[in-house]
């Protein structure tokens, strides 16, 4: 099953909508609540990063029998130094974004802590792509 969500740049009042929709689907599919929590944290942080830092993008969420795979794809500006971006506390968030309580530099760490696999690819001037995988234990 595949679900796609558009993510608007700069629109904080819609940030979290994709996570909320996908969470409802995972509940309907009877995914273990503990695992839903980990997926939701990961998707939310990726979603907010596109709103806060990118020029818009989308989340493509796939549910397989043994895993959930999320692709977060945006159209730039890209991340110049991924290792630096991964460091807790590193943030380039604007003053406006920080005032709202974003920009602690913890989002990518949250994804790393909750996903089984996190792959980041980025090209400056082109865009960033996150692949997040959370394994689903066998039912029963």
């Amino acid at each position: 099953m595949r679900f796609e969500y558009n993510i608007e740049a700069g629109n904080f009042s819609k940030a979290g909508d994709a996570s909320s929709s996908f969470k409802k689907i995972l509940k309907q599919l009877n995914v273990d609540p503990q695992i839903i929590k980990r997926i939701v944290v990961s998707l939310y942080e990726g979603e907010v990063n596109i709103v806060a830092h990118a020029n818009g993008g989308k989340a493509i969420c796939e549910v397989d029998t043994n895993l959930v795979r999320i692709h977060l794809v945006d159209v730039g500006p890209g991340i110049p130094d991924i290792n630096k971006a991964m460091q807790a506390g590193y943030s380039t968030a604007s003053a406006r974004v920080r005032e709202m309580g974003f920009g602690a530099g913890m989002g990518l760490q949250n994804i790393k802590n909750n996903a089984d696999i996190l792959n980041i690819q980025s090209e400056v001037g082109v865009g960033t792509e996150l692949e997040i995988i959370v394994n689903l234990p066998k039912a029963g």
């Binding site: 904080f12 009042s13 940030a15 979290g16 909508d17 996570s19 909320s20 969470k23 929590k37 939701v40 944290v41 939310y44 942080e45 907010v48 709202m100 309580g101 974003f102 602690a104 913890m106 989002g107 760490q109 949250n110 802590n113």
Partner: protein, 111 residues
């Protein structure tokens, strides 16, 4: 302890989300950094914060928090109450600062 119990004891204002007043409280989390709450608050926690915008409800709902308490007499942004009502997340208010309120709540929940 339920959300409605601490409203009485701590004399909190109820701004919205009254459908969730019987939510059970598992503990508390005090922070104004959204990704800190996203990463570390636990299901059923009461969240104490000075943030007043819509993302507070989004996070509270995604994390299944018991309620949100806005401190220092802060008023929620107008556009969050409908969302809070739909999600059944009580949005509460206190005149006190984070330190005092967190201390009182801690005592109530651990006694």
């Amino acid at each position: 302890m339920q959300v409605q119990d601490i409203i009485k004891i701590l004399n909190l204002e109820v701004f919205g989300g009254s459908g969730g007043l019987n939510r059970e409280i598992s503990g508390g989390y005090t922070s104004d950094l959204l990704s800190d709450v996203m990463g570390h608050a636990e299901c059923g926690n009461i969240w104490i914060t000075l943030q007043t915008h819509k993302n507070v409800i989004a996070i509270a709902s995604l994390k299944e928090l018991a309620a949100v308490i806005l401190i220092k007499g802060n008023i929620p942004d107008a556009d969050i109450l409908e969302h809070a009502e739909n999600e059944g997340i009580p949005v509460l208010g206190s005149k006190e600062e984070a330190f005092e309120l967190t201390g009182k709540l801690f005592n109530l929940l651990t006694r």
